[in-house]
Symmetry: C2
Subunit: 217 residues, 2 copies
Protein backbone atom coordinates (compact mmCIF):
# COMPACT_ATOMS: atom_id res chain seq x y z
CA UNK A 1 0.00 0.00 0.00
CA UNK A 2 2.77 2.38 0.94
CA UNK A 3 4.99 1.16 -1.86
CA UNK A 4 5.94 3.67 -4.52
CA UNK A 5 3.84 3.67 -7.65
CA UNK A 6 5.28 6.29 -9.95
CA UNK A 7 6.22 3.71 -12.55
CA UNK A 8 3.34 4.84 -14.74
CA UNK A 9 2.35 8.32 -15.83
CA UNK A 10 0.39 9.69 -12.91
CA UNK A 11 0.62 8.26 -9.42
CA UNK A 12 -2.96 7.88 -8.35
CA UNK A 13 -4.44 7.13 -11.72
CA UNK A 14 -1.88 4.42 -12.17
CA UNK A 15 -3.14 2.78 -9.02
CA UNK A 16 -6.68 3.05 -10.29
CA UNK A 17 -5.81 1.28 -13.51
CA UNK A 18 -3.92 -1.41 -11.71
CA UNK A 19 -6.87 -1.92 -9.41
CA UNK A 20 -9.23 -2.35 -12.34
CA UNK A 21 -7.05 -5.08 -13.72
CA UNK A 22 -6.61 -6.72 -10.35
CA UNK A 23 -10.34 -6.80 -9.77
CA UNK A 24 -10.97 -8.41 -13.12
CA UNK A 25 -8.33 -11.05 -12.54
CA UNK A 26 -9.50 -11.76 -9.03
CA UNK A 27 -13.09 -11.98 -10.19
CA UNK A 28 -12.22 -14.51 -12.82
CA UNK A 29 -10.39 -16.68 -10.33
CA UNK A 30 -13.01 -16.46 -7.65
CA UNK A 31 -15.99 -17.03 -9.91
CA UNK A 32 -14.17 -19.90 -11.51
CA UNK A 33 -13.52 -21.48 -8.15
CA UNK A 34 -16.82 -20.83 -6.41
CA UNK A 35 -19.28 -20.35 -9.23
CA UNK A 36 -21.59 -17.41 -9.63
CA UNK A 37 -22.44 -17.58 -5.95
CA UNK A 38 -19.06 -16.21 -5.02
CA UNK A 39 -19.43 -13.08 -2.95
CA UNK A 40 -18.33 -9.65 -4.03
CA UNK A 41 -16.51 -9.24 -0.74
CA UNK A 42 -14.32 -12.20 -1.52
CA UNK A 43 -13.43 -10.83 -4.91
CA UNK A 44 -12.47 -7.51 -3.40
CA UNK A 45 -10.38 -9.23 -0.76
CA UNK A 46 -8.62 -11.38 -3.32
CA UNK A 47 -7.91 -8.30 -5.40
CA UNK A 48 -6.55 -6.54 -2.34
CA UNK A 49 -8.98 -3.72 -2.91
CA UNK A 50 -11.84 -2.18 -0.99
CA UNK A 51 -15.46 -2.61 -1.91
CA UNK A 52 -15.56 1.06 -2.79
CA UNK A 53 -12.95 0.72 -5.49
CA UNK A 54 -14.67 -2.30 -6.91
CA UNK A 55 -18.08 -0.68 -7.13
CA UNK A 56 -16.76 2.60 -8.48
CA UNK A 57 -15.59 0.80 -11.57
CA UNK A 58 -18.22 -1.90 -11.97
CA UNK A 59 -21.70 -0.78 -11.14
CA UNK A 60 -22.93 -4.13 -9.91
CA UNK A 61 -22.07 -7.76 -9.57
CA UNK A 62 -23.93 -8.47 -12.80
CA UNK A 63 -21.94 -5.86 -14.64
CA UNK A 64 -18.77 -7.50 -13.46
CA UNK A 65 -20.01 -10.86 -14.59
CA UNK A 66 -20.95 -9.53 -18.00
CA UNK A 67 -17.55 -7.95 -18.42
CA UNK A 68 -15.98 -11.25 -17.52
CA UNK A 69 -18.07 -13.17 -20.00
CA UNK A 70 -17.20 -10.79 -22.77
CA UNK A 71 -13.54 -11.07 -21.90
CA UNK A 72 -13.71 -14.85 -21.92
CA UNK A 73 -15.40 -14.89 -25.31
CA UNK A 74 -12.83 -12.55 -26.75
CA UNK A 75 -10.04 -14.72 -25.46
CA UNK A 76 -11.58 -17.75 -27.07
CA UNK A 77 -11.79 -15.85 -30.35
CA UNK A 78 -8.11 -15.09 -30.15
CA UNK A 79 -7.41 -18.72 -29.40
CA UNK A 80 -9.42 -19.76 -32.46
CA UNK A 81 -7.52 -17.33 -34.66
CA UNK A 82 -4.29 -18.72 -33.33
CA UNK A 83 -5.54 -22.21 -34.11
CA UNK A 84 -6.20 -21.28 -37.73
CA UNK A 85 -2.73 -19.82 -37.99
CA UNK A 86 -1.06 -22.91 -36.51
CA UNK A 87 1.21 -24.97 -38.78
CA UNK A 88 -1.04 -28.00 -38.62
CA UNK A 89 -4.70 -28.42 -37.78
CA UNK A 90 -4.29 -30.78 -34.86
CA UNK A 91 -1.82 -28.58 -33.05
CA UNK A 92 -4.17 -25.69 -33.60
CA UNK A 93 -7.24 -27.48 -32.33
CA UNK A 94 -5.66 -29.06 -29.29
CA UNK A 95 -3.93 -25.85 -28.30
CA UNK A 96 -7.27 -24.10 -28.65
CA UNK A 97 -8.93 -26.50 -26.27
CA UNK A 98 -6.08 -26.39 -23.80
CA UNK A 99 -5.99 -22.61 -23.86
CA UNK A 100 -9.72 -22.23 -23.34
CA UNK A 101 -9.74 -24.71 -20.49
CA UNK A 102 -6.72 -23.13 -18.87
CA UNK A 103 -8.31 -19.71 -19.01
CA UNK A 104 -11.52 -21.10 -17.68
CA UNK A 105 -13.70 -19.91 -20.52
CA UNK A 106 -16.15 -22.65 -19.75
CA UNK A 107 -16.38 -21.76 -16.10
CA UNK A 108 -18.71 -18.93 -16.98
CA UNK A 109 -21.20 -21.11 -18.75
CA UNK A 110 -23.10 -22.21 -15.65
CA UNK A 111 -24.01 -18.56 -15.27
CA UNK A 112 -26.24 -18.94 -18.27
CA UNK A 113 -29.70 -17.70 -17.54
CA UNK A 114 -28.78 -15.71 -14.49
CA UNK A 115 -27.45 -12.88 -16.58
CA UNK A 116 -29.00 -10.26 -18.81
CA UNK A 117 -27.29 -10.66 -22.17
CA UNK A 118 -26.59 -7.74 -24.45
CA UNK A 119 -26.79 -7.94 -28.25
CA UNK A 120 -23.04 -7.34 -28.42
CA UNK A 121 -22.45 -10.41 -26.30
CA UNK A 122 -24.55 -12.48 -28.67
CA UNK A 123 -22.63 -11.19 -31.62
CA UNK A 124 -19.29 -11.96 -29.98
CA UNK A 125 -20.46 -15.41 -29.05
CA UNK A 126 -21.57 -16.17 -32.60
CA UNK A 127 -18.34 -14.90 -34.04
CA UNK A 128 -16.41 -17.22 -31.76
CA UNK A 129 -18.54 -20.13 -32.80
CA UNK A 130 -18.07 -19.45 -36.48
CA UNK A 131 -14.32 -19.35 -36.02
CA UNK A 132 -14.40 -22.60 -34.09
CA UNK A 133 -16.31 -24.17 -36.95
CA UNK A 134 -13.46 -23.24 -39.24
CA UNK A 135 -10.95 -24.74 -36.86
CA UNK A 136 -12.89 -27.98 -36.75
CA UNK A 137 -13.45 -28.04 -40.48
CA UNK A 138 -9.76 -27.62 -41.08
CA UNK A 139 -8.98 -30.51 -38.75
CA UNK A 140 -11.45 -32.70 -40.60
CA UNK A 141 -10.02 -31.76 -43.95
CA UNK A 142 -6.57 -32.75 -42.74
CA UNK A 143 -8.02 -36.00 -41.46
CA UNK A 144 -6.80 -35.59 -37.91
CA UNK A 145 -10.16 -35.35 -36.19
CA UNK A 146 -12.40 -38.25 -35.41
CA UNK A 147 -15.28 -38.24 -37.84
CA UNK A 148 -18.60 -37.03 -36.56
CA UNK A 149 -17.10 -34.52 -34.19
CA UNK A 150 -18.68 -31.09 -34.59
CA UNK A 151 -17.69 -27.64 -33.42
CA UNK A 152 -20.32 -27.83 -30.74
CA UNK A 153 -18.86 -31.06 -29.44
CA UNK A 154 -15.62 -29.20 -28.94
CA UNK A 155 -17.39 -26.24 -27.39
CA UNK A 156 -19.13 -28.49 -24.91
CA UNK A 157 -15.90 -30.26 -24.14
CA UNK A 158 -14.29 -26.96 -23.24
CA UNK A 159 -17.23 -26.10 -21.09
CA UNK A 160 -17.16 -29.41 -19.27
CA UNK A 161 -13.52 -29.10 -18.43
CA UNK A 162 -13.87 -25.49 -17.47
CA UNK A 163 -16.56 -26.11 -14.92
CA UNK A 164 -15.44 -25.09 -11.52
CA UNK A 165 -12.12 -24.22 -13.00
CA UNK A 166 -9.49 -23.24 -13.79
CA UNK A 167 -7.62 -24.64 -10.88
CA UNK A 168 -4.91 -22.29 -9.77
CA UNK A 169 -1.65 -22.94 -11.61
CA UNK A 170 0.72 -25.21 -9.76
CA UNK A 171 -1.97 -26.99 -7.78
CA UNK A 172 -2.62 -30.70 -8.00
CA UNK A 173 -6.10 -29.92 -9.25
CA UNK A 174 -4.58 -28.36 -12.29
CA UNK A 175 -2.35 -31.36 -12.91
CA UNK A 176 -5.33 -33.69 -12.70
CA UNK A 177 -7.29 -31.60 -15.11
CA UNK A 178 -4.42 -31.65 -17.56
CA UNK A 179 -4.23 -35.43 -17.39
CA UNK A 180 -7.93 -35.89 -18.02
CA UNK A 181 -7.86 -33.36 -20.80
CA UNK A 182 -4.98 -35.21 -22.44
CA UNK A 183 -7.08 -38.36 -22.35
CA UNK A 184 -10.06 -36.63 -23.92
CA UNK A 185 -7.97 -35.00 -26.61
CA UNK A 186 -6.59 -38.39 -27.51
CA UNK A 187 -10.10 -39.67 -27.86
CA UNK A 188 -10.82 -36.80 -30.18
CA UNK A 189 -8.16 -37.74 -32.71
CA UNK A 190 -8.99 -39.69 -35.73
CA UNK A 191 -8.31 -43.36 -35.12
CA UNK A 192 -11.37 -44.65 -36.88
CA UNK A 193 -13.02 -45.49 -33.63
CA UNK A 194 -16.71 -46.20 -33.92
CA UNK A 195 -19.19 -43.41 -34.52
CA UNK A 196 -20.16 -41.20 -31.63
CA UNK A 197 -23.39 -42.12 -29.89
CA UNK A 198 -26.52 -40.07 -30.32
CA UNK A 199 -27.22 -37.01 -32.41
CA UNK A 200 -24.77 -34.12 -32.56
CA UNK A 201 -25.46 -31.24 -30.16
CA UNK A 202 -27.78 -28.62 -31.57
CA UNK A 203 -27.00 -24.93 -31.78
CA UNK A 204 -30.50 -24.25 -30.53
CA UNK A 205 -29.86 -26.00 -27.29
CA UNK A 206 -26.45 -24.43 -26.92
CA UNK A 207 -27.91 -20.97 -27.20
CA UNK A 208 -31.13 -21.51 -25.35
CA UNK A 209 -29.40 -21.63 -21.99
CA UNK A 210 -28.49 -18.01 -22.38
CA UNK A 211 -31.92 -16.74 -23.18
CA UNK A 212 -32.72 -14.72 -20.16
CA UNK A 213 -35.59 -15.75 -18.03
CA UNK A 214 -35.69 -14.26 -14.57
CA UNK A 215 -35.42 -17.68 -12.96
CA UNK A 216 -37.39 -20.87 -12.75
CA UNK A 217 -37.68 -20.64 -8.98
Amino acid sequence: MAESQHRSRRGRQAEAERNDRRVLDAAREVFAAHGADATVAEIAARAGVGMGSLYRRYGSKSDLLRQLCTQAMEESIQAAEAALAAPDAWTGLSDYVRACVARGSGALAPLAGSLETTPEMWETSRRGRRLLEHVVARAHSEGVLRSGVTALDVAWLVEFFGRRGPAAPGTEDEAIRRRLLAISLDGLRNRDAGPLPGPAPSAQHYERRWQTEPRTS
Copy 2:
Protein backbone atom coordinates in the same frame (compact mmCIF):
# COMPACT_ATOMS: atom_id res chain seq x y z
CA MET B 1 -52.78 -37.32 -4.39
CA ALA B 2 -56.27 -38.73 -4.08
CA GLU B 3 -55.32 -41.82 -6.02
CA SER B 4 -55.74 -45.11 -4.23
CA GLN B 5 -52.66 -46.45 -2.49
CA HIS B 6 -53.64 -49.81 -1.06
CA ARG B 7 -51.20 -51.64 -3.28
CA SER B 8 -48.86 -52.22 -0.35
CA ARG B 9 -49.58 -53.59 3.10
CA ARG B 10 -50.96 -50.67 5.03
CA GLY B 11 -52.43 -47.59 3.42
CA ARG B 12 -50.84 -44.71 5.20
CA GLN B 13 -47.53 -46.32 5.98
CA ALA B 14 -47.19 -47.24 2.35
CA GLU B 15 -47.47 -43.61 1.49
CA ALA B 16 -44.81 -42.79 4.05
CA GLU B 17 -42.39 -45.27 2.56
CA ARG B 18 -43.07 -44.05 -0.93
CA ASN B 19 -42.46 -40.51 0.21
CA ASP B 20 -39.11 -41.42 1.69
CA ARG B 21 -38.01 -42.86 -1.58
CA ARG B 22 -39.37 -39.95 -3.56
CA VAL B 23 -37.55 -37.48 -1.40
CA LEU B 24 -34.28 -39.31 -1.83
CA ASP B 25 -34.68 -39.48 -5.58
CA ALA B 26 -35.72 -35.87 -5.86
CA ALA B 27 -32.86 -34.79 -3.66
CA ARG B 28 -30.36 -36.58 -5.83
CA GLU B 29 -31.70 -34.95 -8.96
CA VAL B 30 -31.94 -31.49 -7.52
CA PHE B 31 -28.54 -31.51 -5.83
CA ALA B 32 -27.04 -32.88 -8.99
CA ALA B 33 -28.55 -30.10 -11.05
CA HIS B 34 -28.05 -27.15 -8.72
CA GLY B 35 -25.22 -28.21 -6.47
CA ALA B 36 -25.29 -28.19 -2.70
CA ASP B 37 -26.87 -24.75 -2.77
CA ALA B 38 -30.16 -26.20 -3.93
CA THR B 39 -32.94 -25.31 -1.53
CA VAL B 40 -34.81 -27.79 0.57
CA ALA B 41 -38.07 -26.31 -0.65
CA GLU B 42 -37.19 -27.22 -4.22
CA ILE B 43 -36.44 -30.78 -3.24
CA ALA B 44 -39.76 -31.10 -1.47
CA ALA B 45 -41.58 -29.63 -4.44
CA ARG B 46 -39.85 -31.96 -6.86
CA ALA B 47 -40.72 -34.91 -4.65
CA GLY B 48 -44.33 -33.76 -4.52
CA VAL B 49 -44.12 -33.73 -0.76
CA GLY B 50 -44.51 -31.12 1.94
CA MET B 51 -41.66 -29.76 3.97
CA GLY B 52 -43.12 -31.45 6.98
CA SER B 53 -42.80 -34.90 5.50
CA LEU B 54 -39.29 -34.21 4.41
CA TYR B 55 -38.11 -33.00 7.79
CA ARG B 56 -39.88 -35.75 9.69
CA ARG B 57 -37.71 -38.29 7.96
CA TYR B 58 -34.45 -36.40 7.55
CA GLY B 59 -33.60 -34.21 10.47
CA SER B 60 -31.74 -31.61 8.47
CA LYS B 61 -30.42 -30.72 5.09
CA SER B 62 -27.02 -32.04 6.09
CA ASP B 63 -28.50 -35.34 7.13
CA LEU B 64 -30.12 -35.65 3.76
CA LEU B 65 -26.87 -34.87 2.04
CA ARG B 66 -25.01 -37.44 4.09
CA GLN B 67 -27.58 -40.08 3.29
CA LEU B 68 -27.20 -39.23 -0.35
CA CYS B 69 -23.44 -39.47 -0.26
CA THR B 70 -23.59 -42.84 1.39
CA GLN B 71 -26.06 -44.06 -1.18
CA ALA B 72 -23.88 -42.84 -4.01
CA MET B 73 -20.84 -44.58 -2.60
CA GLU B 74 -22.72 -47.82 -2.17
CA GLU B 75 -23.94 -47.65 -5.73
CA SER B 76 -20.41 -47.18 -6.97
CA ILE B 77 -19.34 -50.18 -4.94
CA GLN B 78 -22.01 -52.26 -6.63
CA ALA B 79 -20.88 -50.96 -9.99
CA ALA B 80 -17.31 -51.95 -9.20
CA GLU B 81 -18.37 -55.43 -8.20
CA ALA B 82 -20.30 -55.73 -11.42
CA ALA B 83 -17.21 -54.62 -13.29
CA LEU B 84 -15.12 -57.37 -11.72
CA ALA B 85 -17.76 -59.89 -12.69
CA ALA B 86 -17.95 -58.69 -16.29
CA PRO B 87 -16.75 -61.09 -19.01
CA ASP B 88 -13.89 -58.83 -20.03
CA ALA B 89 -12.08 -56.08 -18.21
CA TRP B 90 -12.78 -53.31 -20.67
CA THR B 91 -16.51 -53.87 -20.69
CA GLY B 92 -16.40 -53.89 -16.92
CA LEU B 93 -14.42 -50.70 -16.59
CA SER B 94 -16.32 -48.70 -19.16
CA ASP B 95 -19.67 -49.83 -17.83
CA TYR B 96 -18.49 -48.84 -14.38
CA VAL B 97 -17.66 -45.34 -15.54
CA ARG B 98 -20.88 -44.98 -17.48
CA ALA B 99 -22.97 -46.21 -14.58
CA CYS B 100 -21.33 -43.90 -12.07
CA VAL B 101 -21.69 -40.91 -14.34
CA ALA B 102 -25.28 -41.74 -15.14
CA ARG B 103 -26.14 -42.02 -11.47
CA GLY B 104 -24.33 -38.79 -10.78
CA SER B 105 -22.00 -40.23 -8.16
CA GLY B 106 -19.53 -37.51 -8.90
CA ALA B 107 -22.08 -34.77 -8.49
CA LEU B 108 -21.78 -35.07 -4.76
CA ALA B 109 -18.08 -34.51 -4.72
CA PRO B 110 -18.22 -30.70 -4.80
CA LEU B 111 -19.94 -30.99 -1.44
CA ALA B 112 -16.63 -32.00 0.02
CA GLY B 113 -15.77 -29.95 3.04
CA SER B 114 -19.26 -28.65 3.63
CA LEU B 115 -20.31 -31.84 5.29
CA GLU B 116 -19.49 -33.52 8.56
CA THR B 117 -18.23 -36.97 7.61
CA THR B 118 -18.85 -40.01 9.77
CA PRO B 119 -16.32 -42.83 10.17
CA GLU B 120 -18.70 -45.16 8.37
CA MET B 121 -18.63 -42.89 5.36
CA TRP B 122 -14.85 -42.99 5.30
CA GLU B 123 -14.87 -46.73 5.48
CA THR B 124 -17.37 -47.01 2.65
CA SER B 125 -15.37 -44.62 0.56
CA ARG B 126 -12.16 -46.55 1.05
CA ARG B 127 -13.85 -49.82 0.25
CA GLY B 128 -15.09 -48.38 -3.02
CA ARG B 129 -11.65 -47.16 -3.86
CA ARG B 130 -10.04 -50.51 -3.16
CA LEU B 131 -12.52 -52.20 -5.45
CA LEU B 132 -11.89 -49.69 -8.17
CA GLU B 133 -8.19 -50.41 -7.88
CA HIS B 134 -8.93 -54.04 -8.62
CA VAL B 135 -11.02 -53.08 -11.62
CA VAL B 136 -8.21 -50.95 -12.99
CA ALA B 137 -5.57 -53.56 -12.23
CA ARG B 138 -7.58 -56.16 -14.10
CA ALA B 139 -7.87 -53.88 -17.10
CA HIS B 140 -4.13 -53.31 -17.10
CA SER B 141 -3.42 -57.00 -16.83
CA GLU B 142 -5.61 -57.63 -19.86
CA GLY B 143 -3.78 -54.86 -21.67
CA VAL B 144 -6.87 -52.86 -22.51
CA LEU B 145 -6.11 -49.77 -20.48
CA ARG B 146 -3.70 -47.07 -21.49
CA SER B 147 -0.57 -47.42 -19.42
CA GLY B 148 -0.09 -44.98 -16.61
CA VAL B 149 -3.78 -44.71 -15.85
CA THR B 150 -4.50 -45.19 -12.15
CA ALA B 151 -7.66 -45.85 -10.20
CA LEU B 152 -7.67 -42.26 -9.06
CA ASP B 153 -7.54 -41.06 -12.65
CA VAL B 154 -10.73 -43.00 -13.23
CA ALA B 155 -12.27 -41.70 -10.02
CA TRP B 156 -11.54 -38.14 -11.03
CA LEU B 157 -12.92 -38.76 -14.49
CA VAL B 158 -16.18 -39.92 -12.99
CA GLU B 159 -16.26 -36.90 -10.79
CA PHE B 160 -15.58 -34.51 -13.62
CA PHE B 161 -18.36 -35.90 -15.72
CA GLY B 162 -20.72 -36.05 -12.81
CA ARG B 163 -20.35 -32.41 -11.95
CA ARG B 164 -23.61 -30.66 -12.29
CA GLY B 165 -25.12 -33.88 -13.40
CA PRO B 166 -26.70 -36.21 -14.17
CA ALA B 167 -28.81 -34.50 -16.72
CA ALA B 168 -32.33 -35.86 -16.65
CA PRO B 169 -32.74 -38.89 -18.92
CA GLY B 170 -34.00 -38.06 -22.36
CA THR B 171 -32.69 -34.52 -22.38
CA GLU B 172 -30.19 -33.23 -24.86
CA ASP B 173 -27.84 -32.54 -21.99
CA GLU B 174 -27.69 -36.22 -21.31
CA ALA B 175 -26.97 -37.02 -24.94
CA ILE B 176 -24.12 -34.53 -24.99
CA ARG B 177 -22.65 -35.98 -21.86
CA ARG B 178 -22.77 -39.44 -23.35
CA ARG B 179 -20.93 -38.26 -26.46
CA LEU B 180 -18.18 -36.61 -24.49
CA LEU B 181 -17.89 -39.58 -22.22
CA ALA B 182 -17.54 -41.87 -25.23
CA ILE B 183 -14.68 -39.71 -26.42
CA SER B 184 -12.93 -39.84 -23.07
CA LEU B 185 -13.38 -43.58 -22.73
CA ASP B 186 -11.78 -44.01 -26.12
CA GLY B 187 -8.85 -41.98 -24.93
CA LEU B 188 -8.58 -44.27 -21.96
CA ARG B 189 -8.06 -47.40 -24.00
CA ASN B 190 -4.66 -48.73 -24.61
CA ARG B 191 -3.36 -47.52 -27.95
CA ASP B 192 0.15 -46.81 -26.87
CA ALA B 193 -0.43 -43.13 -27.00
CA GLY B 194 2.23 -41.12 -25.24
CA PRO B 195 2.49 -41.13 -21.48
CA LEU B 196 0.08 -39.01 -19.51
CA PRO B 197 1.38 -35.61 -18.48
CA GLY B 198 2.34 -34.86 -14.91
CA PRO B 199 2.32 -37.05 -11.84
CA ALA B 200 -0.57 -39.37 -11.04
CA PRO B 201 -3.21 -37.98 -8.68
CA SER B 202 -2.42 -38.63 -5.03
CA ALA B 203 -4.75 -40.32 -2.58
CA GLN B 204 -3.84 -37.66 -0.07
CA HIS B 205 -5.25 -34.93 -2.24
CA TYR B 206 -8.29 -36.97 -3.13
CA GLU B 207 -9.17 -37.45 0.52
CA ARG B 208 -8.13 -34.10 1.84
CA ARG B 209 -11.12 -32.38 0.30
CA TRP B 210 -13.39 -34.27 2.64
CA GLN B 211 -11.62 -33.41 5.80
CA THR B 212 -14.11 -31.21 7.52
CA GLU B 213 -13.19 -27.70 8.26
CA PRO B 214 -16.06 -25.43 9.19
CA ARG B 215 -15.36 -23.20 6.21
CA THR B 216 -12.64 -20.92 4.97
CA SER B 217 -14.94 -17.92 5.01
